[in-house]
């Protein structure tokens, strides 16, 4: 247990690990949904502290990773227009589309700007009245309140030169989609703590009931994740399938109602294509018709985009929990964070990038060499 001494509360971590060992009598596969949890698990080696029977597979919870290639290409087409100032979170700059990334477009003269918050785009819009300001609105439910407020305020303040390119994704439909897949191995979930800060966790209850899977809303600290695993394992061993909240110090069942209300006023649910996964019904947000003047997809007609993903990449299977990063022949070789081939390597929160960042590609090379 070489990692335990890195934990803030080593004694508590040891105690929970022992409790997990005692509780486990059968093999179980758990999925952590959020990319932040994946990052924490790989950094602190949490998966290696668990009994061999417990396997953690990594979920689709990185919005940068799952933004579809079509949408990224669309963003690039808009960003290259001379009348546009294209604004984005920094994470999206290096995500490759079919041809380039936003940083390359910027170096060729496109006006691409990194913003901390979508609300900053309104200031850019006011000071650049002759330009069209477009914000690349990606994210899960955690980011939706910010993007909704930027459009709501633009409408209220009559800022007509501001629009957003919406590529919002939703967690519950993606969980349901994973569970419906014939390849599914996942038997329990660690739910996303900060998504549920906004949305609460009522919408997970029908999923737990329908698919008979325990869902434990879990935080991000190593101790949180160990506790989430223990709660999920206890449910699996007992044959129960409820939504439990490991993270009550931050998450309430109802979530933030004020934020939910504004999100529902500005956005409506739509089908959404996920990079590496494909289209999932009712798994995204789009702007409501009343806000069409701020909808970049309506304002900028982009021609049909023909995208191509590298055939070798297995990111779709990684996102569904069917494969692990080191199952991919390209992992750490042709595919690295500097030259990502697919969804799970394009952002630091993707499972492949997390494995790479903490040296697991080197372990694979050693294992491969030993096998020869």
């Amino acid at each position: 247990m070489k990692y335990l001494d890195e934990y803030r509360d080593e004694a508590l971590a040891t105690k929970i690990v022992h409790e997990i060992q005692r509780a486990t009598t059968k093999p179980w596969v758990l999925m952590e949904v959020c990319g932040g949890q994946t990052h924490s698990i790989v950094k602190y080696g949490i998966d290696r502290l668990l009994p061999n029977e417990i396997e953690l597979v990594h979920g689709p919870g990185c919005p940068v990773c799952v933004t579809s290639l079509e949408m990224i290409d669309k963003a690039h087409a808009i960003a290259q227009r001379p009348d546009v100032i294209f604004c984005s979170f920094g994470d999206m700059l290096r995500v490759p589309g079919s041809q380039d990334d936003l940083l390359i477009l910027k170096s060729r003269g496109a006006d691409v700007r990194v913003v901390y918050s979508p609300i900053d785009c309104l200031k850019i819009a006011r000071t650049n009245p002759n330009k069209k300001i477009v914000f690349f609105a990606i994210g899960f439910e955690t980011t939706a309140p910010a993007n909704a407020m930027s459009v709501w305020q633009a409408q209220k303040q009559a800022i007509k030169n501001f629009s957003i390119l919406v590529s919002h994704v939703l967690v519950p439909p993606s969980i349901a989609s994973i569970l419906q897949s014939p390849l599914n191995r996942v038997q329990g979930f660690l739910g996303p703590g900060h998504v549920c800060t906004v949305m609460g966790y009522r919408e997970y209850e029908p999923i737990a009931e329908r698919f008979r899977v325990p869902i434990v809303i879990t935080g991000f600290e190593p101790i949180d994740i160990l506790e989430g695993v223990l709660m999920a394992v206890r449910q699996l061993e007992a044959g129960t399938y409820q939504v439990e909240n490991q993270y009550p110090r931050v998450v309430q069942r109802a979530g933030n109602r004020i934020a939910q209300d504004l999100v529902n006023q500005v956005f409506e649910v739509c089908d959404r294509k996920w990079r590496g996964v494909g289209s999932i019904p009712k798994s995204g947000y789009k702007l409501r018709y009343e806000f069409r003047e701020h909808d970049a997809e309506r304002i900028f007609e982009t021609k049909e985009i023909d995208t191509q993903e590298p055939e070798i990449c297995i990111s779709g299977l990684v996102l569904k929990g069917v494969k692990k990063p080191h199952d991919c022949p390209a992992f750490g070789k042709q595919c690295t964070p500097e030259h990502p081939l697919g969804a799970t390597m394009v952002s630091a929160e993707g499972a492949c990038a997390a494995y790479y960042a903490y040296g697991r590609h080197l372990e694979k090379e050693q294992a491969d060499a030993a096998a020869v």
């Binding site: 950094k43 913003v115 994210g139 600290e221 934020a259």
Partner: protein
């Protein structure tokens, strides 16, 4: 980018457009924060902030632990993106050099 970062509210004000805004201190970096979703928060409170929006109030101990974890996981990079000031948003043509904010 999907994680919220805890900060301490050091200023609350309503801006010219009637939006409840504030400034929060994140381990020494001070940033503007929209408080429309957290009407209950007051000066000195700790809030979980995601891309410039306070989403919930947390206690001081929780804030400190979460901040330390995010720091260890190198998940605080977004705080280095400067806020946009309307008077000088031209500098955003080149966001690369750090800008000393007032």
């Amino acid at each position: 980018m999907c994680l919220a970062i805890p900060g301490k509210l050091i200023e609350i004000a309503t801006d010219a457009n009637g939006v409840r805004m504030g400034r929060a201190n994140f381990g020494g970096i001070v940033k503007q924060v929209c408080l429309e979703y957290t009407p209950e928060v007051q000066m000195g409170d700790y809030v979980l902030v995601h891309v410039g929006f306070a989403l919930s109030k947390v206690n001081e101990e929780e804030a400190a632990r979460t901040y330390q974890l995010l720091e260890e996981m190198k998940q605080l990079g977004e705080l280095e993106t400067p806020d946009v000031n309307e008077s000088d948003s031209a500098f955003f043509n080149d966001p690369s050099p750090p800008i000393a904010m007032k």
